[in-house]
Structures are given as C-alpha cells and as structure tokens.
C-alpha cells in the first residue's frame, strides 16, 4: 500500500506545531498502525531526519500508552480498538491519513504525538483507591460478592486510562474516566466505606486539572477502546448528588 500521512510535528511543549505531509509506500496490510509509523520513522532516521515521537508500549491494547487522533477519531476508525491493535488492512491503498495528538489543555503535548496524561494519575491519587493497607485483609472468600456486581465492577475496571474519552469530548471532560473508577469500587462491598468521599474528591481534582464538565453527548462511550458504558456516568452523578446534598 501507498499512503499519504499528514502528521502533527511539534518539537516540545512550548514550541509551535504544524502539520507535515509524508508519503510512505510498501506498507503491508498485515502491519499494525504503529508498525506503519515504525516504517516511516526508520526511513526518516535513515535520511538523517528526526523521527515522529509517539507513545506506545505493550502493543496489545492494554497498557493505555498509545493514543493518536486518526482522521479525527481517537484510536482511528475501528470500534473497540486501540491504535496499537488497529491494522492497515482497515485502510485502502492511496488513502490520506491525518494523525494528530490528543487535543486537550489538560493533556499538554510533550513532543509531536506524545502527550502528558499525568492529570489522570493525580485524579486517582485523590481518591481512586480502597484504603486497605497490606496485612489488613480478611480471607478472600469471607465476603461473597454477587457475580452480577463483580461483573459490573470488572466492566468498569477495564478502563486502560488512555484518555480517548477526553480527546473526543468537545468539553474535554474526563467524566467517563472518573466514573469508571468510581463505579468499579462503588460496586464492591470493599469500596463502600469511602464511596461518596471518593466521588467528591476525584470530581474535584478533575475540575482542578481543567477537564471540562459533561454535557451528556456520550461520544466518549463510542470512542472508548474498552467500550466503557456511559451508564457509569449516570451512577457517578447519582453518587455525587447524594454526597453533596446529604453530605455523605
């Protein structure tokens, strides 16, 4: 395959960025999208030019490190698929592809396509945990958990923290990310003691990081590579309301 790539190049956080076009040929449909970028980078380096910076690591769709807006869509056109799991057979010969970083003021660009998502860490640090020091634990089967609840908790816990939900949202809201964490713990008996405090603290931190508010457009669910449901946001809203009204 032969492709034209329009790629965002930006030397550092404070530098001006711009789109630059590259032609790549000899692309195999069996390559992953990132392998296609590897090919481009190897060729750039062979010419003595700087390669395109992008984040990635596991290349198995689980570490949440890869990102990229591909033709305006986070992680590209394929449903429930991270960029690293997207394959070139989903594109056609001669196609023009636009590749940009996540665009959100809370995710500043590090270089080219790599962004800084440490805001997510700070949200979790504020409340995204169950306080159970090592050694505190009772026997694992002491508290049975209905399979249904365990399954919902697991659905929510599947979030990989990639930030696609923020990138797609017109308000750059982190609500799906926050809701997934709150819902994961909120569905487990172990998560009850800190349930309301957790919600308040994470939402406050998301605000402080400059993420926007949720206006229920629900593009996030469609963009999420793990298909985290917006139902978790509804739950988060209920818990948040309850916590603020009744001071729970």
């Amino acid at each position: 395959m032969k492709l034209t790539l329009d790629i965002w190049r930006q030397k550092s956080a404070n530098a001006e960025g711009k789109m630059v076009s590259y032609e790549v040929d000899d692309i195999s449909p069996d390559m992953s999208f990132l392998e296609m970028l590897d090919v481009l980078n190897e060729r750039l380096l062979e010419k003595g030019e700087d390669s395109v910076a992008f984040d990635h690591d596991c290349r198995e769709g689980i570490c949440g490190m890869c990102s990229l807006m591909i033709n305006g869509m986070p992680h590209g056109p394929e449903r429930a698929t991270t960029t690293c799991q997207l394959h070139m057979r989903k594109f056609h010969d001669g196609q023009r592809i636009t590749i940009e970083p996540w665009r959100a003021s809370s995710f500043p660009v590090v270089k080219d396509l790599a962004v800084d998502r440490s805001a997510f860490d700070r949200i979790v640090q504020k409340g995204g945990f169950i306080s159970a020091n090592t050694g505190n634990a009772p026997d694992a089967n002491a508290i049975p958990i209905p399979k249904k609840d365990a399954d919902i908790a697991m659905d929510a816990a599947a979030c990989i923290g990639c930030g696609a939900c923020v990138a797609v949202c017109k308000n750059s809201s982190a609500m799906l990310f926050v809701a997934a964490k709150a819902s994961h713990f909120g569905h487990l008996p172990q998560g009850q003691p800190e349930r309301y405090e957790r919600v308040i603290k994470m939402v406050e931190q998301a605000d402080a990081e400059g993420f926007g508010s949720c206006s229920n457009t629900y593009d996030c669910e469609a963009a999420c590579p793990k298909e985290i449901s917006v139902r978790h946001i509804a739950r988060l809203n209920r818990d948040y309301l309850r916590a603020s009204l009744f001071g729970e």
């Binding site: 049975p144 365990a150 172990q190």
Partner: protein, 637 residues
C-alpha cells in the same frame, strides 16, 4: 563473590516464620528517617513501594513510563496462583511448592519456593480487599481454573486481564501513598546507573525522559523491580520498552547475574507475519484447556486446514504426552512446535506455525461457551490476523516471553551488593529453569507485599551505614559518567538506527540461543556479538540532542546494554552442559528427544561476575540442596 544464601535453619515449613522472628526490626518512629529508592512500578515495585510507605519509610519510586499503571505487568492475561484450595481438589502449600520446584526442573531454592507458596494465599486476600474484581461464581465466591500444566485449579483470574487488575490494585495503593506523601513518584525517569558508597548501594542516576536532565538520588537502600530481559531477542511478548539496563548496570557494579540462560519461550503466540513485525502477541495459555494443537502429518502439506482429514493430522502433544496432552508445560510444548516446524510440518507463512483448533470444543460445548471463555482472545486474534478462529483454527508459534534468570539474591532478596535488593522478574529466585503459568504475578506480589517489608527492615537495622547525600563525590562521578555515555552515543553520527541493531542482535540470539542451543551455534553467537557491538559504536545514528524528549536515544542506551548482556547470556548457555527447563542443549537429550539434566555436575545456580571490559565474566556457583524433594526426571508422559 560472596554467595551466602542465608537460608534459615530448621524444617522447611517453619523457616519463614522463624526467620521473621529472628530478623531485627526498625522502630516505628525511626522508619521515616530511612529513604528507600524503588526502581520500577510494576507489580513488584508498586507493591513494595506502597507497603514500605505504609510502614512509614520514605519512598522514592521511579519509572520510565508516563504512569505506574503502564508497567509491563499490565499485559498478563491468564491468572495468578495461590494455594487456597477453595476447590477442595487436593491443593496445599506443599503441593504448590512441589509443583513449582518440579516445574522449575529442580534448579531453584527450596526455601524460597516454599515461602512463595506460603504467602500466596495472603496475596489473594490482599487483592480482594483492594477491590481487584476477580472472577466469581454465581454464589458470589471466587472462581478458579487450572492453568499451565497444573493438575489442581488454583489459578485466580479477572477475565483475560488479570495482570491489569492486579496492577491497578497496587497502582491504587501506590497512588494513595503518593497523595499522603509517603511515596514521591518520579514518572518518565529512567535509571541509568547504580551508585555505591562504601560498597553499599546508596542511590541511582536517572535521566528525565522529557528534559534530558541527568541527576541522582540518594537513599538508604535501593530496590530494583525492573522486570525481565526477553527483549534481548528483539521479538518477544514483552512490551516494547522492557530492557535489561537497570539490572545490567548493577551487574557492572559487582552484582552477580544468575542463570541468564534460563529464558522461557511461550508456546501460544501469534506467528511472525513479516519483516515489519515489532513485537509478538501472546495468546493466553488458557486456550490450551480447550484447544487442540496439531500439525499436518505430511511434511509440506499446503492444503487449508479444513481440507486435511482427521487421520492426516498429528495431534503431537496428545500423542507424545498422553497424560498431560495439550496442557504439557511450556518448555515442552514450545519445543514440540519447533520440532514439527523444523521437520517441515509447519503451517502458515514460512512454515513457522502450528494449529490450535477449537472445532472439537465448539462441537462439544457450543460456540456460546467458547465465546464466554475466550471471547476477548478470539477477537484479539482476529484483529491481528484478519482470520476468524471460530471457523479457521488459530495458528500459533512459540515466542520469548519470560526470563527466569536475573540478579542473584539471597533469601532476603538482597543481591551480593549490600543494600541492593531485587524483586519480581528482575531477580532469579523462585522459578529455577522454567516458570509455571500464573506464577510470575504471584512472585512479584509476594516479593513486594510480604517479603521485602520484613527483610529490608533487617538490613536497615543492621547495616551500620550513615547518611549520604546526592552531593557526595560518588554521585557526582556517576552522573558525569552517565552524561558522557549519552554524549558518546549522540556523537557517533553514523548511518544506522538503534532498531536495526536491536533487530540484528535479536535475530542472532533467537537462532543461536533460542529454543534449542548447541555448542557450535553459541560459539558463533559469541563471535558475532562483539562485531555487532563494534559496528553499533561506530555507525549508530540518533537525531536531535540529549537534552530533549528523544526516543531514539532511549532505545540506543537500552540496545547498547543488550549488546553486552547478550554475551553473558550465551556464555552461560554454553557453559551449562545439560538441558533443563527453558535451556535446551541439543547435545543433551534422550533418545526420544527429551531434555537430559546432569544433576551430578550442574545442580547449582550459575552466578556471573563482571570482570571488566571485554573480559569473559567469572563463574561463581551457589550449590542447590534438595532436602525435601528428590530430584527426578520431569516426565509429563
């Protein structure tokens, strides 16, 4: 080299309890006066950092990732073992201990393995308390499966995302301890060197991956939790950034590197599809519970699998190992696949693959059940290959996956360099020559949650070292050396990319020191590696500068260390004149092609000591003593 294993005296089952009592404690009020440097925030590092902070120590935690949640542990799929015996199927601490020692082909330390089995149950309790959503039965109790060649169901799992959920559990705990100041977290900072003062490990030199700034950090002890070195083969199931640098730098400062030749090749990975391949994807071993592995009986058979009748298929694992069949341990399953392909029976591009077929399971259980069990894995396979495994059998081939070798540690997880502790995949301790499935997660968390919090206190209480600061000359010198090395890499200004060297080395290692090794091939590798290294230092190209975000520079530094470390690995493989576990030497096999151990001469851990630039490393031995299990031939027939 002092290799005192410090195994406590007394009966096996009482050693750890006794040792916990015998060790010195640090007074609670004094703990905050100690700074502990933890490098790596995977399962081992994050659990250690969080737990030590809970105890009151001041912890500095480092990772090259942008967040601790990205560590390679996240990718583990299958599960984590624990001797809970919830299934009432005959499991026990002793059985887990025995299985692990046998699975490791009798090349691990009995006392360590027994401790691992003892604390395994606490790990599950701890994880559930943190909210890890393990799979459950309808009654609400935890579900288990059998995994990786075990005959009891002792594996806990969270769909196909066990590693993710365990890591998110430790990450949450680490985050909590970060917000209350117990842990100071340093993201995107890569350790480039270890700093010794007075012979004790007292700190590290790091490079900030965003600004390029080289600086150092001092403390009272250093914990390396930096993962394994499978990427020495370039193509492996490990995440792209996994590397040996931290461990190798420690080795160059005198830490012994134990059994580097024990590398595990996982049997069920998606085969290579072309030269562009950047990594290999593991398909969880749990697939072997229902899938049947076969290759065409006729060499060179080009027919599509549905055209090959039943009697022309060779279900070779079922044939060769009737009692374990498709669930034979990893080393055995991998080697059998290689044999099938080497003799011309392979399928798919280049004949490097065998079938993993679910047709019978679908017939027996229905597609819905298979979907429930493996749905996400089937989807992943289809995404990568474009083939639907419900209709066409999967194609699989072995790939480097895990490294049993690592820095030598004593029973307290301390290396021979005082103060330098090593946890998780980075150490050599518990898996001998071959690791059983679902045991790495268990070991990483055992080390971090339940071993180091005790043993580190003992070191701190007895080491008698004063305070040092990062202004000490030892630190300044190490910083300067690290900067010089970066400059040296930057200034080569040659023509070849870091990846091209990594690929070249990886291919050589895979062919000469991969699934099967022999003297001639290893000798060839040992001749060729220095030549690749020389070319690397003459003809490498890195764009830009060292004082910016520079992914080529990061990679080049790691490849440079792989290029030296590979020689240690091959040297070890060449010296071990036996086949055991993941180390298969073609010269040492039985008439029917099984691994032949040589207990009389090789029942020891081979611990390699750095002897200087260009010098052959020096071999040291820790003899292994088996008081409780008798060495037997590992038969899975």
């Amino acid at each position: 080299m002092n290799l005192d294993s410090k195994i406590p005296s007394g009966p096996l089952a009482e050693k750890w309890t006794k040792h916990k009592f015998d060790m010195k404690l640090v007074n609670p009020a004094n703990k905050r006066k100690y700074t502990i440097i933890v490098v790596g925030t995977g399962l081992a590092g994050a659990s250690a950092a969080a737990t030590l902070a809970e105890l009151g120590y001041k912890v500095l935690a480092f990772t090259y990732h942008d967040s601790p949640r990205r560590a390679h542990s996240i990718a583990a799929q299958g599960g984590i073992n624990a001797a809970k015996n919830y299934q009432n199927d005959g499991d026990s601490v002793y059985r887990l201990f025995y299985d692990t020692v046998k699975g490791g082909d009798f090349r691990s330390r009995e006392a360590n393995v027994h401790r691992l089995a003892e604390v395994s149950a606490n790990i599950i309790d701890q994880c559930v308390a943190q909210g890890v959503p393990f799979a459950r039965e309808y009654g609400g109790y935890l579900s288990n499966r059998s995994f990786g060649g075990a005959q009891v169901s002792r594996t806990f799992y969270a769909r196909g995302q066990t590693g993710q959920q365990l890591l998110l559990g430790t990450y949450a705990q680490l985050s909590k301890m970060t917000s209350n100041g117990g842990v100071t977290l340093f993201n995107r900072k890569e350790m480039l060197d270890l700093v010794l003062v007075n012979g004790h490990a007292r700190g590290i030199v790091t490079r900030d991956l965003i600004t390029g700034k080289v600086e150092s950090f001092a403390g009272d002890a250093v914990l390396l939790c930096t993962g394994g070195y499978s990427n020495v083969f370039y193509l492996s199931t490990n995440a792209k950034a996994c590397n040996v640098t931290a461990a190798y730098r420690a080795y160059k400062h005198g830490a012994g590197f134990a059994n580097p030749c024990y590398t595990q090749i996982h049997p069920t990975c998606i085969p290579v599809s072309g030269d562009h391949q950047s990594k290999l994807t593991l398909m969880s071993e749990s697939l072997r519970n229902d899938g049947r592995i076969w290759a065409p009986k006729k060499a060179g058979d080009q027919r599509s699998p549905d055209q090959i009748p039943e009697n022309e298929r060779d279900y070779y694992l079922e044939r060769k190992y009737p009692s374990f069949g498709n669930l034979s341990p990893r080393d055995i399953a991998s080697r059998s696949a290689k044999e099938a392909c080497d003799s011309g029976h392979g399928v798919g591009p280049g004949g490097r693959g065998v079938y993993l077929d679910f047709a019978d399971a679908i017939k027996r259980l229905g597609q819905k059940v298979i979907e429930e069990r493996y749905g996400n894995l089937f989807e992943m396979y289809e995404r990568i290959t474009g083939e639907n495994p419900y209709r066409v059998p999967m194609r699989i081939y072995p790939a480097p996956h895990y490294t049993m070798g690592g820095l030598w540690v004593d029973y307290n997880l301390m290396s021979n360099v005082p103060g330098l502790h090593v946890l998780g995949e980075a150490n050599f301790s518990d898996h001998g020559a071959n690791r059983l499935g679902a045991s790495a997660l268990m070991q990483g968390l055992a080390d971090g949650y339940f071993v180091i919090p005790y043993t580190l206190g003992h070191y701190l209480a007895t080491s008698g070292q004063g305070k040092v600061s990062a202004d000490a000359p030892e630190f300044k010198q190490a910083e300067q050396e690290a900067s010089e090395r970066i400059n040296k890499l930057m200034n080569i200004r040659g023509k070849r990319t870091p990846t091209s060297f990594h690929r070249e080395l990886g291919l050589l290692m895979w062919h000469k020191c991969g699934m099967a090794r022999n003297e001639k091939g290893l000798q060839e590798a040992l001749d060729k590696i220095p030549a690749i290294r020389e070319e690397f230092w003459k003809n490498l190209f890195i764009p830009g500068s060292g004082s910016e975000f520079n992914q080529s520079l990061e990679l080049a530094g790691r490849v440079a260390d792989f290029l030296e470390f590979a020689e240690v690995l091959c040297t070890d493989a060449l010296h071990r004149n036996e086949s055991c576990g993941g180390h298969f030497r073609e010269e040492y096999q039985t008439a029917d092609g099984e691994a032949k151990r040589n207990d009389a001469d090789f029942t020891y851990a081979a611990v390699w000591e750095y002897a200087g630039e260009g010098k052959r490393p020096v071999l040291n031995k820790e003899p292994l003593q088996f008081d409780n299990v008798s060495l037997s031939v590992r038969s899975y027939k």
